[in-house]
């Protein structure tokens, strides 16, 4: 049976981990590697690194951060933010990333999607979409962390990108990002109905009910929990084999959504 992936997202600005509200108003919450290792030890299925200002300033600082994380983190890592070329993708993959997430550069030049997919495989090419609702049942794609409009219809853009070779879609609702008010389930459902590749729902996770809703009604394949501040005591040792058991889904969901799991140092 296929299970829903729970993905921890690390928003990076320079050397720091930050937390966004509506993809703006960023605040520093600490060292990315410390958090990456903790998310890994606490059972996150994957990590996504997003360099939040890379496309704004036209640079990429994630290579070194990812290289250090790859020393100790043994789950898949996706890197996004400032990936503008096949060479940029090769750079972060060489530093230990497993996939790249592309938004701004793909909108500017959709052929980049095909180039990355052909060079590294579709499984490596994650289309990142920032969606903002513009009318009932209609969303527009944005770039640069919700700053720039593209004029593209989200569902149409995702369909075109998958046709070009995108193997996975990271779908962030700008309206819900950082609000903990629940996912934009209609958005997720509209996209999953249209394409056959896995869709990661992002933005708005607040309660376990939100998770259930986006998976059951939205048919999301994976969900993002940016505040997945899980506790080390949650590791489970398998008494028979000595290996770690993956935490029970319900427990993990609960911790992903529990406000009390955010420590004081993270919000100071």
């Amino acid at each position: 049976m296929r299970s829903t992936r729970l993905i921890a997202r690390l928003d990076i600005k320079g050397e720091n981990l930050i937390k966004g509200i509506h993809l703006e108003g960023l605040r520093v919450i600490g060292s990315p590697n410390e958090h990456a290792l903790r998310y890994y030890l606490q059972g996150a299925d994957e990590l996504i690194y997003m360099d939040c200002v890379a496309s704004l300033y036209g640079r990429n600082s994630l290579g070194e951060i990812v290289r250090r994380a790859a020393q100790d983190v043994f789950v898949p890592m996706t890197v996004g933010g400032g990936i503008r070329s096949v060479d940029d993708a090769a750079y972060v993959l060489r530093h230990g990333a497993d996939k790249v997430a592309v938004n701004t550069a793909a909108v500017a030049r959709p052929a980049l999607i095909a180039e990355i997919a052909q060079r590294f495989g579709s499984q490596c090419m994650v289309l990142s979409v920032e969606a903002k609702q513009i009318a009932p049942g209609r969303w527009e794609a944005y770039t640069d962390n919700g700053r720039e409009r593209t004029g593209l219809d989200v569902v149409e853009w995702v369909r075109q990108s998958v046709g070009l070779g995108a193997g996975e879609v990271l779908l962030t609702s700008i309206d819900r990002e950082g609000t903990r008010r629940g996912f934009d389930v209609a958005l997720v459902a509209a996209v999953t109905a249209e394409v056959s590749v896995p869709v990661i729902a992002s933005g708005g996770l607040g309660t376990v009910a939100h998770l259930v809703d986006v998976v059951k009604t939205g048919h999301a394949d994976a969900v993002h929990g940016g505040r997945a501040a899980l506790r080390p005591s949650d590791h489970r040792r398998d008494a028979r084999g000595g290996g770690r058991r993956r935490p029970e889904r319900e427990d993990l969901c609960a911790r992903l959504t529990s406000p009390s799991s955010i420590t004081a140092s993270e919000i100071s």
Partner: protein
């Protein structure tokens, strides 16, 4: 130079850093190498692989390392193929165009079914965590690559093709995609393969690598 515990075969495809780090984390002395003597002198050989079958096997042949991997297998060195590396152990693959593999385990690499047995469409590639269970007829995982693994341990898969051995005896573990079994771990003597990525499967994956080192 110390004899490496593990030689990770470097034939110019993919990112080998994660595989190297995972084995080092398990305490192994690792050489990432395309050198024939280093590979044949290692205690364990790992054949990694990502991307498309024809490209990868072409690169392996171009570097002459297909022969070296076969020699290692014949010499009795435990050989572990990971993901596409596992698929390359079989006779051939139909990915893009029929292409011969290493022929170390009889069988043919075919696409992961896009439709389940009950007719439901399935997403391809198969990406995500899925639990391991014994293949039909397998009574125990003792003394195998899964010696320390428990039934139900979930590991990370990302693939569009699968490598079902022709002989049922070569199947060690399966996972389910939709309602169909997907070969997850295969073994024929000292030649082993896992479809999932043990280097990306957290502690469950590291457990598999430790068992490999103990073979």
């Amino acid at each position: 130079m110390r004899t490496p515990d593990v030689a990770v075969v470097d034939y110019g495809v993919g990112n080998l850093l994660s595989v190297q780090r995972a084995f080092e984390h398990c305490g192994a002395n690792v050489a990432v190498t395309g050198d024939a003597q280093a590979i044949l002198g290692a205690r364990h050989v790992v054949l990694p692989g990502v991307g498309a079958f024809p490209v990868a096997i072409g690169q392996l042949r171009a570097s002459g390392l297909d022969t070296i991997v076969r020699q290692a297998a014949t010499a009795g060195i435990p050989v572990l193929g990971i993901c596409l590396g596992m698929q390359m152990l079989l006779d051939e693959s139909v990915e893009f165009t029929p292409t011969a593999g290493l022929g170390l385990i009889p069988g043919r690499v075919v696409p992961v079914p896009a439709v389940s047995a009950s007719g439901e469409p399935q997403k391809i590639p198969h990406i995500g965590w899925s639990p391991l269970r014994p293949a039909a007829g397998v009574a125990t995982w003792q003394n195998t690559l899964l010696a320390a693994t428990s039934e139900g341990d979930a590991v990370y898969f990302v693939h569009s093709f699968m490598a079902p051995p022709r002989d049922a005896a070569d199947w060690l573990a399966v996972t389910s995609y939709g309602d169909q079994p997907i070969p997850a771990v295969i073994a024929r003597g000292n030649v082993l393969g896992c479809q999932f990525h043990p280097e990306k499967s957290g502690e469950a994956g590291l457990t598999v690598l430790r068992s490999f080192l103990a073979l």
